[in-house]
């Protein structure tokens, strides 16, 4: 009970901090919507993405909402955790009754709270400016799936935060972030890639992540393969994060 309360107090302060950080807010909340408008404006409103039957505007909406959620959870977690490990704040917290996982939980929870508006802002831009129309259940399911799926990448962010330190954390995060976004087809459909890249893309968590949303847009249930791929990555990332966290605990 007490520890839940302690974790809540930390989540509250983490959130206040995230909302105060203008640069972070811009990048995670507005940036995906802006990229969405730029990308979708280059194609005609009736243009379809091959193999999906979706318009470019609809297809990109899910990609960019996923991209936005990815930005919020990945960038937020990795850099802050690495920085706070170095500054000794993580050590200071270990002198309190807060359980170790409470810290990771608070980081992930506050990232998830920021990622929600980033998804919604993309949806609003798509509906209001690009006239994307879907059924009510589809909107709700999309928010739910993209939000829940972003937890996979929150775990990845925690893992990077514990494995990298100092000057290395930003480049590593950037490489992972852009690599996963572009190769996974969040920026443009992976069907436009050369065959080799397409074969790689199929197995990336970001590809499966975007595919969940695209299935809903096509009024289908998300494919079991995509859910399975994401589940495997989630186990991998969170297992890695837990392992690195324990290693760091013994070293700190």
């Amino acid at each position: 009970m007490l520890n839940t309360f302690a974790t809540q107090a930390l989540i509250k302060l983490e959130l206040a901090r995230a909302l105060r950080n203008k640069k972070f807010l811009f990048f995670s909340v507005l940036y995906p919507a802006i990229i969405y408008l730029i990308f979708s404006s280059s194609s005609g409103s009736n243009e379809k993405v091959s193999d999906t039957g979706l318009t470019v505007a609809t297809y990109l909406m899910v990609s960019m909402a996923s991209f936005g959620a990815l930005t919020a959870v990945l960038m937020g977690n990795s850099e802050r955790i690495a920085k706070e490990r170095e500054s000794g704040w993580v050590r200071q917290l270990r002198l309190t009754p807060l359980p170790g996982r409470g810290y990771v939980l608070a980081k992930t929870a506050s990232a998830a709270v920021v990622s929600l508006p980033s998804i919604i802002v993309v949806f609003i831009a798509a509906a209001a400016i690009k006239h994307v129309r879907l059924d009510a259940w589809q909107w709700l399911a999309l928010v739910g799936v993209i939000w829940a799926g972003s937890l996979v990448f929150a775990a990845l962010g925690v893992a990077i935060g514990y494995v990298a330190s100092g000057d290395a954390v930003r480049p590593i995060t950037m490489i992972v972030y852009f690599g996963l976004s572009i190769l996974g087809g969040l920026w443009m459909p992976s069907t436009t890639f050369p065959q080799v890249l397409q074969d790689i893309a199929k197995w990336l968590p970001t590809h499966a992540y975007a595919a969940l949303g695209q299935a809903i847009e096509q009024s289908q249930a998300p494919h079991a393969t995509d859910i399975a791929i994401l589940a495997v990555y989630f186990v991998l990332f969170s297992g890695g994060a837990a392992w690195l966290y324990r290693k760091d605990t013994l070293k700190a």
């Binding site: 302690a6 107090a9 930390l10 105060r20 170095e86 050590r91 200071q92 002198l95 009754p97």
Partner: protein, 313 residues
């Protein structure tokens, strides 16, 4: 009635902290080497030692930030982590960072919500002397102010044991005095306080008991006065005329060290009165005789040097 007021003698009181044959090794370096010690309720204890003596590792082991390779660490009869979870320990580490992008007040409030037996944040800030900087961003603080905030985090609740790792680093003299006054209040409320320091005069002035740590081992454990005595409590200096019979001087009782330069002799003695009496007994006539007390710093250097000499033999 009498039974209720009877208090146990210190030796049988349950120790606040107990180390038993604790060893911690990093690669080939033994940071803590078979360390055994006890802290008792209400004591203010200084942990004294040069850099690399194992002070920080000792505190890390005490706080459960590191696990001992062998031996046991007890805090209030449980493991360190259990004692922290129960809110019995408040600590301020040198290596402990502060959360950035928040105000001092926000951070202190967080520390209060994390503590099982919290005080009010306003009260904690007043006691740590940071009320005036409550609205300042944590990353805009001076070194001394940051130390005071760390102290506030360590005293956010009603803990029974306060651990301070070189708490006055970065403070000027007046800030340091104010800090120790604050800390004394903590001790006066019956808390046990353990602080690591290399400001030896602080250990001398503040601690009831001083633990001298060297190469991960306990070199001395006693009051500051006892430690001075152990190292050779007094310094005796005098001039002699003519040839100086150094071997005879070396035979003086209670002598712990001797230095002859020119006609001047400087010795350290555990009992200056006895040494001086024996000096006259040698049939020499010392001039300009001076007897002075040793500061703890010199006492500490003497103990350390004696230890090192023993090791190199």
């Amino acid at each position: 009635m009498e039974d209720m007021t009877t208090t146990a003698a210190p030796a049988t009181t349950t120790p606040v902290v107990g180390f038993d044959q604790v060893t911690k090794t990093y690669g080939s370096v033994r940071a803590v080497d078979g360390l055994s010690l006890r802290l008792y309720p209400g004591e203010t204890v200084a942990l004294l030692g040069p850099n690399g003596a194992g002070k920080s590792t000792t505190l890390d082991l005490l706080l459960g930030l590191k696990n001992a390779d062998s031996g046991t660490v007890n805090v209030f009869g449980t493991g360190p982590r259990e004692a922290i979870v129960a809110g019995r320990v408040g600590a301020m580490l040198q290596s402990g960072g502060l959360m950035e992008d928040v105000t001092v007040a926000e951070l202190v409030k967080l520390a209060c919500s994390l503590h099982p037996k919290p005080y009010k944040a306003a009260e904690v800030m007043a006691r740590a002397g940071i009320t005036q900087i409550a609205d300042r961003k944590v990353n805009k603080l001076s070194g001394g102010q940051a130390q005071r905030v760390r102290f506030a985090l360590a005293t956010a609740g009603d803990s029974d044991l306060i651990i301070l790792d070189e708490p006055t680093t970065g403070m000027d003299v007046s800030a340091r005095q104010a800090f120790w006054a604050t800390m004394r209040e903590q001790a006066d409320q019956g808390r046990t306080v353990l602080f690591a320091t290399h400001y030896l005069e602080e250990a001398d002035a503040i601690a009831d008991r001083v633990l001298v740590l060297h190469r991960g081992r306990l070199l001395a454990d006693g009051t500051a006065a006892e430690i001075k005595a152990k190292a050779g409590a007094r310094r005796v200096a005098f001039d002699l005329e003519g040839d100086i019979d150094e071997p005879a001087l070396r035979g003086l009782p209670f002598l712990t060290s001797i230095d002859v330069s020119g006609q001047t002799v400087r010795i350290q003695s555990a009992d200056a009165d006895a040494t001086v009496r024996a000096l006259y007994g040698l049939g020499v006539y010392p001039r300009n005789l001076e007897v002075a007390g040793l500061g703890l710093e010199q006492a500490f250097v003497a103990i350390t040097e004696a230890e090192e000499a023993k090791q190199s033999c």
